[in-house]
Symmetry: C2
Subunit: 350 residues, 2 copies
């Protein structure tokens, strides 16, 4: 296969990844959740947030940044809102717990919120929003983390590329918006670096904060639309980190900067049945999708797509053909697996 | 004063505008609310959403699109979420009712949501988010309306420039993000038209959906960052219009398009005291603001600003010096006032 890419069936990849996290000290159910979210990211084509993260996660368990056996506790519990402390749990573990709480609250109260304090890397945030859709609800999730993006008007990191995901059920597939608050993404920067092509102007800054189109020099992303993306990312920090006494931005700026990995998350579920007949809702979302897809296509585009549509198609393809793993990812996974005495998953013959 | 601009003190302008709406059939309390929101927009420097809208509002009362005496009713009421039908109320009347309900819910349940169906033009959406801050809470508001922005990948209107506002209390002033989901704004297009300068590439499309930098040809705005802004605007329609049986996009596309003005709104309040000590929260927001403002300033910028900071400064200036009204706005207000036999407000001597 091209460039040494190996393909592995999703189920086999998931078992393999779960086995690694169990070997690293994670309870089986939690290891399965982390594996499911990472492989889901690969299936949707978001490879930068998929199993290539496994070695980093294992390293952060060793360094104490990620806690494989967290004591997740309820800090505040209101009729429609809960604050939990995730005790440095894996993002997928802490955030799925958070969304489950939000869903349960929404079933009683119409809407439910759970703020998840001191969680770690969330992998693909869209997965948590879809968890609400699986429960017949609308899901919304966002997060905050240490600054890795320039603040608007500054030539230094001031906010994070904090993502937001919103998912609603449709007639066949859900509509899933899953976006960062940055103009571009580190994935695209890395791709440009690997292919030797210049970046689009406005995507990135060098370490000294000056704009650059040289992928090798790029060190910081820029906020989506300048003030707007920076503002959204800042408000996500205000709605999570600052609100729950675990600020991640103010503490990371200045001489005594705290830079250890940490995140906070926000999960919101809206119970559709409280407002509408659910079947009618799914039909109306399908009608909206149909209306948009029937608009005239702009030059330079091959089709009009709903949020998440591309991911759905990639997932269908990869479920059938297996998840492609580049040679570097395969090699790094093999090193980790070797250390734990775990066999690599079977490769799909091409 | 330059270009025939007249300055009017905010209080006098507010009384004048309220008087006009009373004369047009609006109950006094509601007229005062509409006047307050419109003048607030002027005070903050958002003149495109201020009192220049008065003649249009009066015209839409006459056409039946705006209802000055709405029968606002509760359609669904859950412990933390309410759906109200605004019966074509003025946006400020329907949305302030909605935010008040969200605030009351949040006081009991930690968070509260109110979806406002069949409301009309909201003027400045930030005002509703600040209403929650006045109650010691975090406020979030967004809306959906008829498509006036190209959908990503389409060369036709498919979504609205739907705004979102998020406000949190700070030590002195609140932090208020108030942004549209479009790359630019109609205000900036109009400014370019008036000053004869070209638009930035990517801001607008002509009526046939092709990109243009000619302000006179510009008919549609483009979504912020392409897919991201279009996706956010689409999700706002899914979370309001479609959810409450009053879709505004699907019904506006196609041969039998419904184009009468209408909007839906979403108001969310988060009770800070449920999660944190309110005074500590305001202090931490101030610390975050301080940390960001101490970052090195990028070339081409004179300062690092928090969302809403510019508006706060403009408000302080205009509260002192009066709200500037261009000659055209003054003339159109005078025509309306004359029709109702109402005297124009006193002008500040310069």
């Amino acid at each position: 296969m091209a460039g040494g890419v190996k393909r592995v069936l999703a189920a086999a990849l998931e078992s393999f990844v779960a086995e690694i996290f169990v070997a690293a000290g994670t309870p089986e159910a939690d290891a399965a959740t982390v594996a499911e979210v990472l492989v889901w990211a690969n299936l949707r084509g978001i490879d930068s947030h998929g199993v290539l993260r496994v070695p980093g996660y294992v390293g952060r368990i060793a360094s104490g940044e990620f806690n494989p056996r967290p004591d997740i506790s309820v800090v505040a519990d209101l009729p429609a809102a809960t604050l939990i402390d995730a005790d440095r749990a894996f993002g997928p573990v802490g955030m799925s717990r958070g969304m489950d709480i939000a869903i349960a609250k929404a079933r009683e109260a119409g809407v439910g919120v759970c703020i998840v304090r001191r969680v770690t890397h969330m992998a693909a945030i869209g997965w948590f929003a879809l968890r609400a859709v699986d429960a017949g609800m609308i899901g919304l999730a966002f997060g905050s983390s240490r600054p890795n993006m320039a603040y608007h008007g500054a030539r230094a990191r001031g906010v994070a590329t904090s993502p937001i995901a919103i998912a609603v059920p449709g007639k066949r597939a859900p509509v899933l918006l899953d976006m960062s608050t940055s103009e571009s993404s580190m994935g695209r920067i890395m791709l440009a670096r690997d292919s030797g092509t210049p970046l689009q102007p406005g995507w990135a800054l060098a370490e000294d904060g000056t704009p650059t189109t040289d992928a090798d020099e790029a060190r910081m992303l820029t906020p989506l639309g300048g003030a707007k993306g920076a503002g959204l990312a800042l408000m996500f920090e205000c709605l999570t980190g600052v609100l729950v006494g675990h600020p991640l931005i103010a503490t990371a700026i200045g001489p005594d900067a705290e830079t250890r990995h940490s995140q906070n998350g926000f999960a919101l579920a809206i119970d559709i049945a409280s407002f509408a007949e659910p079947e009618r809702y799914r039909r109306d979302i399908a009608a909206l999708a149909g209306a948009l897809k029937s608009l005239p296509v702009a030059e330079g585009h091959d089709a009009i797509r709903l949020p998440g549509e591309r991911g759905e198609r990639t997932m269908a393809e990869r479920l059938e053909a297996g998840v492609p793993l580049p040679a570097g990812t395969w090699r790094r996974l093999a090193e980790i697996a070797d250390g734990f005495g775990i066999a690599m998953p079977p490769v799909v013959e091409g």
